[in-house]
Amino acid sequence: MQKSLRTLGVHEKARITSITACGEMGRRLRDMGLVTGTEVEVVGRAPLKDPVALRLRDFTLTLRNNEADCIMIEKMEEKS
């Protein structure tokens, strides 16, 4: 099932399946390394639940929830 990045909980991991943003924001997301197939992990949320902090490609990135809506993901199973 396709879900947006907004639905991902803290410490959950997912793989990006598609990015629906275009124009300026799409360009920025891609420049920062968010492309299809990238693995991301939510590492934290700001005190008011928005923005969200992600870990990908060995660095940490923040984005707002409405920006996370443009990023479609599939959840990855927790390694136990």
Binding site: M25, R27, L29, R30, G33, A46, F59, T60, E67
Partner: protein, 721 residues
Amino acid sequence: MNGTATIALAGNPNSGKTTLFNAITGARQRVGNYPGITVERKEGTINLDDVKINVVDLPGCYSLSAYSQEELVARKVLVDERPDIVVDIVDATRLERHLYLAVQFFELGIPVVLALNMMDEAGKQGVRIDSARLSSLLNCPVVETVARSGLGKQELMRKALDHAKQRGGIWEPLKISYGPDLDVALDHMVEKIEAARFMTNRYPARWVALKYLEADAEVLASGRTLGGPAQELEVIVQRTREHIQKTLNTVPEALIADYRYGLINSILRQNVLSHERTQEERIDVSAKLDSILTNRLLGPAIMFGVLYAMFQVTFTVGEIPMGWLESLFGWLGETATAIIPEGLVQSLVVSGIIDGVGGVMGFVPLIGIMFLMISFLEDSGYMARVAYMLDRILRIFGLHGCSAMPFIVSGGIMGGCAVPGVMATRTLRSPKEKLATLITAPFMPCGAKLPVFLLLIAAFFSENEAQIMFLITLFAWTMALLVSKLLRSTIIKGDPTPFIMELPPYRLPTLQGVLIHSWERVWQYIRKAGTVILAVSVLLWAAMTFPGLPEEAASKFAADRQAIAASAIDQEQQQALIVEIDNLEAQATLKHSVAGRIGSFFEPVSQWAGFDWRTNIALVGGFAAKEVIVSTFGTAYSLGEVDPEDSSSLSSRIAADPAWNKATALALIVFVLLYAPCFVTVVTMAKESSWRWALFSTCFNTALGFGLAVVAYQVGSLFLV
């Protein structure tokens, strides 16, 4: 190379680029601005093996697309100035991300040397990089460096020079395959571009084609003005775009990014990069710190603590050198008074130049300390967390997480200064949010407005001083946020800038970096603001001095004085009477001057808010510096010189004046809080944005302040009196 060479330093923000630049050039730096924008241009010169090397520090950028001003500037410098070589600084701990920019340099074809920075940290994290292998796969020299200690900088410069010499200024664009669909389109476009020599004097043909496919706003726009094959290229792009949308359900620019990352991954997987530990095993200090510093409850508490402490330190420590400067200028004034014979020249030098420039230089220690601390917070990575935590609230009002700092510095916790506040808007990368912050930050109750409030509160609301002061601060925040919202939904309308921002790892800033950074800003303030401010102080002095009292009026005061001197009353009484006449003369002179006439001219209108001509003059003077309001009141109420710190006589005088009541006081508080920022701030605003916006804020804030002051006076007259 004729003994000279130009090296451009490029790299992502937080790659250690500035630290390396400082390590290479030391204090021999020149800082300027790129024309028309606020991006700083830093250069330094070093000598190596008899070659004079000019090092240009390009603004930090993540990519060479046209997203930010920094990226546009970096691109422009590369293609227009064609430096001999680019040194691309990449963070070894985040190699994959940072190579994205490097790949774009290779596609541009400019000679590149890669600096693998932060090798010490990479070692600590168990990241192993085979730099020789990386060098052969990328076909460019790779040098391992540690910018903080300067390790590897000599080798880096030497290899850069060698490589530049070897390439001899020839650009060799790397051709990356972007899959069958895009490659066909690219080849087709390259043919057309080469045939027409379309923009090929600046960019390689394939680069132009790529930028067309990426829908790069700048290249598209300049292509349209050039004409030529621009139209045909856009048709090809449109066709490709539709085709890719249909077959792959994506857009060309996304596909291009995919392929670039694919290339980087394929290189790194060829035994270039290996981790000794898995991600789970690694000890990530930044993540641990973040779990405390951005914690739901602890995070905001610590943040307010840090901001408050910073603020306290600035103003308590800053007071000491401020006092020295004050005494210095006081001494200068006295000396000038003693040396120059009494008259207009003395008045100009003492009241115009020394007082004016002294008032401005008084801010220097504040700005210096404030920027020392802001640089520390920025370089350590904490500032990004402040923005991250406050973004949700500020966004409601059309602002950005990074707007918090300028507000606080301007006096958001009472008694700051809008000059460093406006300068702090530099941390805002988004122009619209920056403008809104810049215009509303001067609403905050800065240290210079406080004496005015204290004077009025003492005269009319002495029973609940603290509450009124608190209400004033609250009112300032409310106005700043509401006006931001208003501006952002009218004249600076636009979608919020995305908050797609890197949270850099926490690092201890280098002393050199913090010092250089603060010194640059202080020096810019002294140099740029100093010249304009000198001119305006002289202008204001002239407005309050000319035209002098007409002959007969002046001689009447002189006659009065003589009459008293000749009278039989004792010495002490004589002295007191003469002082009173002096003060009356000063009052008459002020009323007769241009400023006085302006004050009287506006009286019919300002009456709506309860302000008479005396208040008007004080407010005109307040444009020079808000401290002047109280001292001008002193002159206008013929009390002679009034020390703004001790105005008790003035406050009882005002309280007793029938023209004054609580409503007037309330209206004046509102007006002083909101009206035109002092001219030091206006000059700073013009430097950070443009003169147009600085003038806009002067007029807009005054109109807003007056409107609300009228409301306060009229409503207050109904209920308070």
